[in-house]
């Protein structure tokens, strides 16, 4: 498969993954995808030789995303501000608003947790493949998924402490 054929066939999927990894920042996602594809292009013969170029590029994408977040600053994890949840207040049961809130909560997770959740639930990758992509053990993937979900549950799950239908606001840090 030529590089061009690969990009044509796989770039929509890869771009959507990049968007989720980048917290839906379109410019950042485009940059991330370019970076991953350029890196794959450089080593295209080897990437092809793996027999699974898309998996390889996912691997590059996920690692580039984690790297980017590390560079951007060892910046503090973004905390959900009151403003993040306010739009939900008038209509707690609104599915669109809840979805929106979940995505913002996802974007505010530590990069590695966000990456494993995107690869697990958006790309449907099994834990072993995620471990392979991120260069960690399956156990680490499981714990990251578990922690990420726990954090999302904290902010998104209607809990017993919260009034019916109302999401709890909580810092994700």
């Amino acid at each position: 498969m030529s590089f061009e054929e690969f990009v044509q066939a796989c770039s929509p999927r890869l771009f959507r993954t990049a968007l989720l990894l980048a917290g839906q920042d379109r410019a950042a996602a485009e940059d991330l995808l370019q970076l991953a594809l350029e890196r794959a292009y450089r080593h295209w013969a080897r990437v092809c030789r793996s027999g699974e170029p898309e998996r390889y590029v996912h691997r590059i994408l996920a690692n580039a995303s984690n790297d980017r977040w590390r560079q951007v600053a060892r910046r503090r994890e973004r905390q959900l501000s009151p403003g993040d949840a306010d739009p939900l207040a008038p209509d707690q049961s609104d599915a669109v608003a809840e979805r929106d809130f979940l995505l913002r909560a996802l974007a505010a997770l530590p990069p590695r947790q966000r990456t494993v959740l995107v690869l697990r639930y958006f790309n449907d990758l099994p834990e072993a493949e995620i471990a392979d992509a991120l260069g960690c053990s399956v156990g680490t993937v499981k714990s990251q998924v578990s922690r990420g979900l726990a954090r999302l549950r904290d902010v998104a799950e209607p809990g017993a402490e919260a009034p019916a239908g109302q999401m709890r606001r909580r810092s994700l840090s």
Partner: protein
């Protein structure tokens, strides 16, 4: 799946369902690549002017995954091991006796890396991702895994001194040495840069290992102390390594350049331009010519002058190459088809012979005596007589997967 997991999945799918990448993505990637290539070119030239003082190395050659097989092995009958990984599941490694060309009982193993044979041919080492599994070739039974923790084990090569294997993951920055007498891992060597593609090469005296990094550098390691030398800038990266038989020069073939590196001083020479991204490199046993495989062509480079000769057009991307011990024939796997083929090239005339049509051969390897070339494709392995360039009866069953590597024990 819990309700939260379902909602998270639905939220992600809905959020990006209609999103499309920019229409000019390929052009953007190419532009980015050109910018980067130009930048690296300048850096490479600057680096070439700097003299780094490093450990001098000896003679000979060693390359990734090739194993130290030689025609004068310890007398063990050669066995071909064909590795077919299977993502997330147990893959198979099929042993094939060269004498009979019959497949033995497959070894089932979960692995995703490469393999290498010990110099005495008694053990095959397989990188599984997080561990290395030794397999005794006498019994073909996997031994106790050598766990490397979260350092991934993807590529493995053995020091020609026969004492230590070096194992590296992809993107990690650690090389783990393994004492192959005791099968115990040593302290990981931090090379400070991510490793990609995962290439390790040893000088024949085993004193220096070279490792490839993400940053288009090759890092030398003093194998006695684990100390790192200064990273060597290699033009537009390296996708393949090879050291000349006299051990004096390492050739690193990358996207548009081949960089010769003096192993005595660890300094890069001027990058030699090539037209297409390199996929493999093979050096003739007399050390006079380095062949660079790339898309659609093989380019011979005179190692005396470091000048490229006329490209030998193949018509299909070159994936892997193997050169006979007498140096007369270079075999090129060019699997993209249909149908895929292995093409013999006469090194005397630098002309391509008639392609041997055997389907999509992805990996190839020669027996130590050079009499048979094995080509592995999906679900079959084909032995090819190098005397007549005719394929033998395909060896089945192997695996329906994609072959990763062929290792032939001495």
């Amino acid at each position: 799946m819990t309700d939260l997991e379902r909602r998270l999945r639905a939220a992600m799918e809905a959020a990006v369902a209609n999103q499309q990448p920019p229409g000019n993505l390929i052009q953007q990637v190419r532009r980015r690549h050109r910018r980067r290539t130009a930048r690296v070119g300048v850096a490479g030239a600057a680096a070439a002017a700097v003299v780094a003082v490093l450990v001098p190395v000896g003679i000979g050659a060693s390359g990734h995954g090739s194993g130290p097989a030689g025609p004068d092995g310890p007398g063990i009958r050669p066995t071909v091991y064909v590795a077919y990984p299977n993502v997330g599941k147990a893959g198979t490694i099929t042993p094939i006796r060269v004498a009979t060309n019959k497949p033995g009982k497959p070894i089932h193993l979960r692995f995703n890396g490469f393999a290498v044979a010990a110099p005495d041919g008694k053990t095959l080492y397989v990188a599984t991702g997080t561990a290395v599994i030794p397999i005794k070739t006498a019994t073909n039974k996997p031994g106790k895994p050598i766990h490397l923790g979260t350092d991934r084990a993807f590529t493995i090569d053995i020091n020609p001194n026969g004492k230590t294997a070096y194992v590296a993951g992809i993107f990690t920055d650690k090389i783990t040495p393994i004492n192959i007498a005791t099968n115990t891992p040593g302290k990981p060597i931090d090379i400070r840069f991510g490793i990609f593609p995962a290439l390790i090469a040893f000088t024949p005296d085993g004193k220096t290992a070279y490792v490839n990094t993400l940053h288009d550098t090759v890092t030398p390691i003093n194998t006695a102390t684990g100390a790192l030398g200064k990273p060597i800038q290699v033009g537009t990266g390296s996708d393949s390594f090879a050291i000349t038989p006299d051990g004096k020069t390492l050739y690193a073939a990358g996207t548009y350049t081949v960089t010769p590196i003096s192993t005595a001083t660890n300094t890069p020479g001027n990058p030699i331009p090539i037209r297409h991204p390199a996929s493999d490199i093979a050096i003739t046993p007399d050390g006079k010519t380095a062949y660079i495989g790339s898309q659609f062509a093989v380019t011979p480079i005179s190692t005396a002058t470091n000048t490229p000769g006329k490209p030998i057009h193949i018509g299909r991307p070159v994936l892997e190459m193997a050169i006979t011990p007498d140096g007369k024939t270079l075999y090129v796997a060019n699997p993209e088809g249909p149908p895929g083929a292995v093409t013999p090239i006469s090194t005397a005339t630098n002309t391509a012979g008639t392609p041997i049509r055997i389907g999509n051969a992805l990996v190839i390897a020669l027996t130590p005596d050079g009499k048979t070339l094995y080509a592995a494709a999906i679900n079959k392995v084909v032995p090819i007589s190098t005397a007549t360039n005719t394929p033998g009866k395909p060896i089945r069953p192997v695996s329906p997967g994609i072959p990763r590597e062929i290792v032939i024990t001495p």
